[in-house]
């Protein structure tokens, strides 16, 4: 469904040239939940923005259902790392969630229904009338997720969405994402720098090298579909997988330092 081929992105400007992503190739199947994990600054955000049509790659291409992505495609939704700056503070929660729907050809009743349904899914049905800045960080990120859900995307791109929330909230939100994925059958590409999070969430983990970035390894997470914070994290298989990914990333960092 999602095809990334030979993706390369070089930032150029003011005499500086940064090769953020060198050569990335991978695919994501319909209905899959894939985690991309890599050290900070390795180009994860860059990659995701190229996939989402927010940046034009310097080389290679991204295909969605065989069609080349050249701008934000209608079937994709993006959840940004900076939740506090992604919601519009002049709109109430309900209006924030509804705004993207106004670009679609939907009746008012249908929009209402989608907004209510999405907010219920993230457990924030009561917050429709609140302003984003009246909510905690974790709640704001839930609203951003609800906004993406209401948009009914086929592909959901998430860029380190939980990097800035506290550990407890983070665990809740991870379970929320897995729950939504199972309920709604959305394809999710989830970016994180947290190895545990990648292994806990993903059906598959793609490990990126340090910059200049290539795919270092892809591994299937053969944990049961039914996961929970308490048992999954102490599962010996979980420990094996996370150790493996950890070693890969360490090796990637050393490799980068040596070369």
């Amino acid at each position: 469904m999602l095809d990334v081929r030979g993706l390369k992105k070089v930032y150029e400007g003011s005499g500086r040239r940064v090769e953020a992503v060198r050569d990335l190739t991978f695919t994501v199947d319909a209905g899959e939940l894939v985690c991309l994990v890599g050290p900070s600054g390795c180009g994860k955000t860059t990659l995701l923005k190229c996939v989402g049509g927010l940046l034009t790659p310097s080389g290679g291409e991204v295909l969605l259902d065989g069609r080349k992505v050249s701008g934000p495609p209608p079937g994709m939704a993006f959840v940004f790392q900076e939740y506090g700056r992604s919601l519009f503070p002049w709109m109430r929660v309900g209006e924030n969630v509804e705004l993207p729907l106004k670009q679609k050809d939907l009746s008012k009743a249908r929009r209402r229904e989608l907004v209510r349904d999405a907010l219920e899914s993230v457990g924030l049905a009561d917050a429709v009338g609140a302003y984003p800045w009246q909510l905690s960080g974790g709640m704001q990120q839930r609203v951003a997720i609800a906004r993406a859900l209401a948009y009914e995307p086929r592909v959901l791109l998430m860029d380190e969405p939980f990097a800035a929330v506290d550990a407890q909230t983070r665990a809740d939100l991870e379970d929320l994402v897995r729950g939504l994925w199972r309920e709604r059958g959305i394809t999710i590409l989830f970016v994180t720098h947290d190895i545990d999070e990648a292994v806990y969430l993903g059906e598959r983990v793609i490990v990126l090298s340090a910059s200049p970035t290539v795919v270092r390894e892809q591994l299937k997470v053969d944990l049961p579909v039914e996961r929970d914070q308490l048992h999954t994290r102490v599962d010996p298989r979980f420990a094996e997988l996370r150790t493996h990914v950890y070693e890969q990333i360490q090796a990637a960092k050393k490799g980068a330092a040596a070369s």
């Binding site: 940004f80 700056r85 800045w133």
Partner: protein
């Protein structure tokens, strides 16, 4: 209730004190140019009859409203265009800096050459003077749109008019209002000055007439009316601002509580 009362006391205290000082200090005055406040207040109802309010205050207010509205519309529209396009900004910036540096009152004789001495001239003078703070603040506000919000809008296909209405103008609105506020005091000054140059009615005209006819207490009542008008307009402005920028004040207050 008690707090509201206390606030009222605080608001009224200084004006009351100043009026008392004026009253006492001028009580025994025999200076023609400094009549006792008592004399001024006694003259007030005789001078500012309903007829005079209709014949002189109303035309002034209408000119101000016309010029101010024109400046607001033109300033926000041009400011949005200039703020949105880097190229346009590069071309316009030096010219804007020059035009802004010209003190608006010197425009009166120039504009009289083109627009005559009628209402058109006065409305034009007010508009030309008021447009700069609105324009320049709008440019700054539009430029400062948060890049994450801009990308959010783009990823959800919010473009064109919807983007302008829901993102750009809303995000720039605190700055736009700062400009409008500056413009309001400039507008009142220009209203009076333009009426002093050439007019057959209006507040500025009336005050000058009194002064020339040595009706000094009457002249002072005119100045009081001007002060009251300015005060009233600023109260109305604040009321509108509270409604439109309620979200902004809330956001700032919440940012102060949890930095």
């Amino acid at each position: 209730m008690r707090r509201a009362l206390l606030r009222l006391v605080f608001t009224v205290a200084l004006p009351a004190l100043l009026v008392t000082v004026w009253w006492v200090a001028s009580a025994g005055s025999t200076d023609v140019y400094w009549p006792p406040l008592r004399t001024i207040l006694e003259a007030f109802p005789d001078v500012w009859t309903a007829e005079r309010l209709r014949g002189d205050v109303l035309p002034s207010v209408l000119r101000l409203a016309g010029g101010y509205a024109l400046a607001a519309v033109v300033g926000v529209a041009l400011g949005t265009v200039i703020g949105s396009y880097r190229r346009v900004r590069a071309v316009c910036e030096p010219v804007l800096e020059f035009l802004r540096a010209v003190p608006p009152p010197v425009l009166v004789p120039v504009i009289m050459l083109f627009a005559g001495i009628g209402d058109t001239m006065k409305v034009t003078v007010i508009a030309v003077g008021c447009v700069w703070p609105v324009l320049l603040n709008t440019v700054e506000g539009v430029r400062a749109v948060d890049p994450v919000m801009a990308e959010t809008a783009r990823s959800y296909g919010i473009t064109g008019v919807a983007r302008l209405r829901n993102l750009v103008l809303r995000s720039a609105s605190p700055q736009i209002f700062a400009g409008l506020r500056q413009a309001l005091s400039i507008g009142i000054i220009l209203m009076v000055i333009s009426e002093m140059f050439a007019a057959s009615n209006g507040l500025g005209f009336t005050i000058v007439q009194f002064q020339r006819g040595f009706a000094i207490p009457d002249m002072w009542t005119g100045i009081l009316v001007l002060g009251l008008l300015g005060f009233l307009l600023s109260v109305v402005f604040q009321w509108v601002e509270r409604r439109v920028l309620g979200w902004y004040h809330g956001l700032r207050a919440s940012a102060r509580r949890s930095p």
